[in-house]
Structure formats: C-alpha cells, structure tokens
Symmetry: C2
Subunit: 427 residues, 2 copies
C-alpha cells in the first residue's frame, strides 16, 4: 500500500488524509521509501531528515483541523530558507548554513499541513553550474536546471509538488526535460522573503507538479486564498501560435510538440491563429545577458568580496562580466525590457493564451550543462505567467513539452486553460 | 582638529583622505568621539564597534588605491545584513543574529573604502513601532521612522551618510523632521539582497545625507558607475506644483515650506505651474493599507508562525489585518497601483520635477509614534524617485522640508535639479 501512496497527487493525498483513508505518516513513509530506493540514481536531494518529516506528519495526523495540503510531502529548492534543515545554495560558501526563519513560502506550506521532506539539489546559486542530479528518465541526461532536484523529485514520483525558482528558464526547462508540469506565475505573485536572489528584476518563485489540480491547490495555500477549483472554460480558448524568431533554431521535436498541440487544440474546438511579437521584442534576447550579468554581480557582492575563490569559474566569469559592464548599458537594457512589458498585454490581441515552444528539444546528453534557457527566458523577462505541459516524445524517447503564456496577472485563467489543453492533448 | 573632522561631508572626507590631508583613522576617531559625546541623548545607534571601525580605517589608510568613499564613516539601518555586527531588525526575535554575508549595499560601500561605523536604530522590522532614538534637535520629539537612527546620526553630524529604507515614508519623513536630505531613488535602483523586506512591491533602499554631492557620490559607489558630478542644469527647471488632495490636511508650516520654495525657485528663474494628479490617484491613499497589510503579513509568515508573541501588538494587528483580507481585494489594489504607475510619466506633462509637501508638519512631540507617512507614501507607491530638502522652520523652531519628485528612473536629473533648488533656497 505504501508504494501506491507515493504516486498520489497532492490533491488525492490531502483529500485522503482529511477523510482518514490513510495517515499523513503513511504517505511520508511511502515517499521516504521511494526516495531511499531511487535517489542513489536520481540524486534529487541535498538533504532529507526522515525522523523530522515523520514527526511533522504525525502532528498533522493529530490535528483535528486539516489544512489545504494536509500530509502532502513537498520538496524545497535548496536556495529557499528552512529553519530546521540547512540551506546550501548549491555552494560550499553556505555549507551547513541554517537560516534563522523559514522563507514565507515554506512557512505557508507548513501551516497548510504540508510536510517538508527535504531540500532539493539546485545549480550553484540557482545559476548555470549543475549539481549532481540526473534525469530520472535517463541518468546520462541532464534533468535541466537550476531547479534540478525539485523537478527530478516530482518527475520520479518522490513527491507530488516541489518549489522551484525561475530567473531565466529554471522551472520550465527542467519540467519539459523530465516530462512534468512547470508553472512560473506572474512576477511578484509569491513572496521571495527567504529566497536567495539571482537577478532581482526577474526572479520568480514557482512550482513543479504532475497535474494542474495540484498547482491550483498549492497556489491557494501559498496565497492564503480560499480554494475552489476553477470552473470549466465557458468556451474553448483563443490561442495565439507564437513561434517567435527562435522557431527555426528549435530542434524538430520541439516544433513537432507545438504542431501536435495545435492539432489537438483545434480538434477540441480552440481557435488557433498565428501571432507575431512586435519586432523590438527580438532585442530582449540580446539584452538578457546584460541584465543577468549586472544583477548577478549585484546580488553576489557580499560573496564576491569575501568568498570569491569558492565560486565556480563559470559564475566568477558571469560576475566579472557584469562588473565590467557600463551602468548605462544596464539601464538601457532595463528600459527596453520595461517597454516590452508595458506593450505585452496589447500584444495578445484578443488571444487568451499564447502557444510557444518550451525548449530547444529533448534533454541533452551529459550532466555538465543544463540546456538552453532561451525559449523560457523571453517570457520570464516579460513578467507574464507561463507553464509547460508534457505533450510529445522526441526521437530518443525523451519528453518534450509545450509552453502556454498568459497576460500579466491572468494566472488563474492560464491554469484553467492549461487544464483544458491537458484534456485536449490526452484525447 | 578631530572635532572638525566629524562635521565634514563624505565628499570632503574622501577628497581629504585621498590627498593625505588627514587619515581615515582620524576621521573615524572623530566620528566615534562625537557619538560617545552625543549618543546618550540621541540614541541613534543599536551597535557600534569602535575597534573594528578603527582597524578598517587603518586598512583604508594603508591601501595605495583609494575608493570613492575612502575613509567615509557610514551608518547602516539595522534591518540590513552585516557579517561583522549583529542585525537585529528592531526585534527581540533577531537578538544577536549575525548574517552570513554582508548585504550588497554594505559590501559595495566597504569596497569603495567606506567605514561601517555601526548599525542604526530602526523601528521594529522597519514598520511603525518606534525604537529608542530621539530627535537630535529636540529630545522630546520623534526623529520620525522607520530609519530613525540613520537619520538622527546624519542630522547630528555623527556620520555624513547613512543607509535607510522606505516602504511608506521611512526615509523622507525622518529627514524632514531632522532637517537633512533624504533620497529615495526609483524602485529597484539598489539591490535589496540582505535587506529585510517590509512590503515587497514598495521597499526601496535609499540615503540620508546633508548635501547633494554626498548622495551622488554614494549612489556612484553603490551602482559601481563612474563618478563625475552632474553638470549645471542647462536651464532653470520646469516645476509642477503638486499640492495633492491632502494639501488642506497639511499643517500651515508644511504649506509655508512649499510656498517659500515656489517663491525662491521663481526668483531663480524656474517656471513653476500648478499640476494636478489624475483623479483616480486619490484611490492610492485608500488602497495603501491593503497592500501594506497583505504584503507585511506575507513577508512575516515565518516569524508569525514561530515567534508571534515577540512581535509588538501594533505589528500583530497589522499582520492580522493582512491575513483577514481577501486575496482578490489585494489584487485589485495592486491593479490600481500598477495602473497609476503606468500613467505617471505622462502625468508630468512636460515638468522636469514635481514640488509637493514632504510631511504633515514639524516632528510631533512624543517618542511613541513616528508621524504620518501619507505625504511620502503616495510617491513610494508610484515607484518614482523622490527627495526631501530642508527649506523652512516651523512655529516650534523645528525644520520642515519640501519634496521633489521626478519621473521613474530620472534619478540623475532629480539630483541635479535638487542641487539647483538647494542653491535657490539658500540665496
């Protein structure tokens, strides 16, 4: 029985714990067993504390009032502060560091009854230098990054939900590579208190999950909003097919994933039409490096002053590049980005959602790199909510997702449409 | 000689240290002597470490290459992380807490040669519950808050520069109450890495100083931009006199300060004309409490879960209020605020800068409250850069500032115009 429990969704777990079909303790035990069996290969976890998790599960079982996430095991990316487990940032600089207080997201999950199973492997400071995690579907391939461990843990069925962060493509890319759902809400949706920054004008906290219901449930817990499932869409969505200027650079499987989704959505009644972004949006690809490097150099100023030699060469180079930039060049890049953001809503031109490639293609072979963020980073820069849904299998048998993008703050609508699209894709 | 050194500006100090007129050590010694003499009355400091500051000053003296802020003593608001002094947040929850790494602003100041003299008193978590600091001009009056200690230390001549933060009016209000300059740059100008949040959509790091030169110098150090003083204005500025709907609520000294400034600016050749904000901007006053309370409840989630009883009753009430709000009400408030921000630049209607009251009036008597933030908070919500300049003396002999506001990211222009206005006022 325990083994079955570890595959349940967050929604099924909290429902089951609430009505007494099984205990939170049994769920956590199943999840820990799964981790013990599989994590020597996947290496998704930086730290787990089985006794602590089990005792927290028993507390949830003893509570007469159950929260939205009663008994739901979750994984926390290791740049997010926890008061009872180290927060290592994927760097020796923070070896053994214990934060004084839980991050807001962690505190909210706990108070909704979730069980923090452990901290998941992150790229060094949520950047590009990979951690130890492998792709659960093929240990020779990257799981993507930087939320590598959170994504792999959910994909492997160790936990139904895990927290990630996205500054370029750190939630959506691994989610596509591992065949699960990755959700980056509108910038500013969830508090970043207790989350180590990477680039402050871009950093967004989000979720890895295996179903839309679980994302909606967790969002409700994080925002302390009343929870009810979104109703059915009143009509099939109007979808803008947005290939972007990078379309020809995508591998064929990524284009095929989008084309397959167009067919399925049309078959289910959606109005899908081509949509082009204004030409100046192409410049976003050019200025991304400027913004990233300059802000990265900024957030790392303390570590740079005192612990430079403990940073990877790759990160040192990024910071050095950021320090060498002229400040006015950064301000120009910000101005362009802010101008595009301001134009973004009208760009939808009546479409409810945009359909666009999620990734270049399947997860690349090798564990040093984590793949290209270009197809995700564009939308992160625009602050709009974005989600990847599993859709297609590539030539090597690896999953390839699609990406859906909604207007700023239209997160609820994005999730409702995503459920409709998931249904359309699985027919 | 030492006593004279403690009254110098940051610009004079760094110039003097560079050419060898005096040592950084002598400057810091003078500053520590001043603090020892005066701080039993002013109580601006939460923590000073004389030996540490002096040894850092000696290091600066020994360096052949001097930074922009060589030997400049600075005060750091005690919600900003320092690796060698405790960061107490004005709360017993963080008693003795030592951050693992300096905040970005602290690291940047240090690497420019500034000497961190100590941590300055803050209201509890940069909110409304006052610390122990008194107004250096009248110990029976509030210095304002929440950057109380930073402001009082600069006003008393203990240090030429101190870091503050503003979420409502926490930099400009105390600066007006104490008769110095307070500068809140455009939202997002300085990194908040290592700064404890109060309301994430509003929090801005800024400066207390006694002259515009020092602000420009410190901004250059914080942003790692090449430093040259702004040239003279090409022509006198076009000034929008923006009384706002709160004008009649201001005390007569605050209106008199603005009127005096209008006269002086006109006499110096400025074109001053009336400017009204669009009517819906008045709603900003109504939604401010919603945004503040909801975001405050969010950033404090960890402390609320584990240390609630250590929070002041006032802060507990704010958080409780935020938790009780409907999330959609918060989103509506955010939508209104974001809409006003988007309209703000066109609202200037050809004016280079707006002139508006800084405060209700003189610093109130009593040390429990810190005064009303309404005249400052409006502009904080709009993300625009804003500055207060000393201008007037009220009926009780206490200073009253004016406030100048520039378009988003026009910070350099705001400082150049402020220098022009300071000159006009002192004629």
């Amino acid at each position: 029985m325990n083994d079955n429990l570890s595959g349940l969704s967050a929604t099924e777990i909290s429902d089951g714990v609430k009505v007494g079909s099984f205990s939170a303790e049994a769920v956590v035990e199943a999840c820990l067993n799964h981790i013990e069996r599989r994590d020597k290969d996947v290496m998704a976890w930086e730290c787990i504390k089985p006794e602590l998790s089990l005792s927290q599960a028993r507390s949830v079982d003893a509570e007469p009032e159950k929260g939205l996430l009663a008994g739901v095991p979750v994984g926390i990316k290791d740049i997010i502060a926890t008061r009872d487990m180290p927060t290592g940032m994927g760097s020796s600089i923070y070896d053994g560091y214990i934060a004084p207080v839980d991050a807001t997201c962690v505190a909210r999950l706990r108070s909704a009854g979730a069980i923090i199973v452990g901290k998941t492997v992150t790229c060094e400071f949520a950047g590009l230098t990979a951690g130890k995690t492998t792709n659960p579907l093929d240990p020779l391939r990257t799981p993507g990054g930087s939320s590598s461990g959170s994504c792999a843990a959910v994909a492997d069925g160790m936990v139904p939900i895990a927290l990630g962060t996205q500054t370029g493509g750190s939630i959506l890319r691994p989610s596509s590579y591992c065949g699960i759902i990755g959700f980056k809400p509108s910038f500013d949706t969830f508090s970043l208190k207790g989350v180590f920054p990477a680039a402050e004008s871009l950093d967004t906290l989000g979720l890895h999950a295996r179903c839309i219901d679980d994302i909606e449930l967790t969002v409700s817990a994080l925002l302390l909003r009343g929870h009810k499932m979104e109703q059915q869409l009143p009509r099939p969505p109007v979808v803008g097919l947005c290939k972007t200027w990078m379309w020809e650079d995508a591998q064929s499987e990524s284009r095929a994933a989008v084309e397959r989704a167009v067919e399925a959505m049309r078959a289910a009644g959606a109005n899908v039409r081509d949509l082009e972004l204004p030409e100046e949006f192409q410049w976003l690809s050019d200025v991304r490096g400027v913004i990233n490097a300059r802000e990265r150099a900024s957030v790392m100023a303390g570590e740079w002053a005192n612990n430079k030699e403990q940073l990877s060469e790759q990160l040192q180079n990024t910071i050095q590049g950021g320090l060498a930039l002229n400040h006015d060049e950064y301000l120009d890049a910000m101005y362009l980005m802010e101008t595009c953001r301001a134009r973004m809503n009208q760009t939808f031109d009546g479409c409810d959602v945009l359909l666009t490639p999620a990734v270049d293609g399947e997860a690349p072979i090798g564990l040093e790199g984590t793949g290209s963020p270009r197809f995700q980073a564009l939308w992160t820069m625009l602050h709009v909510p974005t989600i990847t849904l599993p859709c297609h299998v590539g030539p090597s048998g690896m999953p390839v997702g699609i990406q859906l993008v909604a207007p700023y703050r239209a997160d609820n609508s994005l999730l409702a449409i995503s459920r409709w699209v998931s249904d359309a894709l699985s027919v």
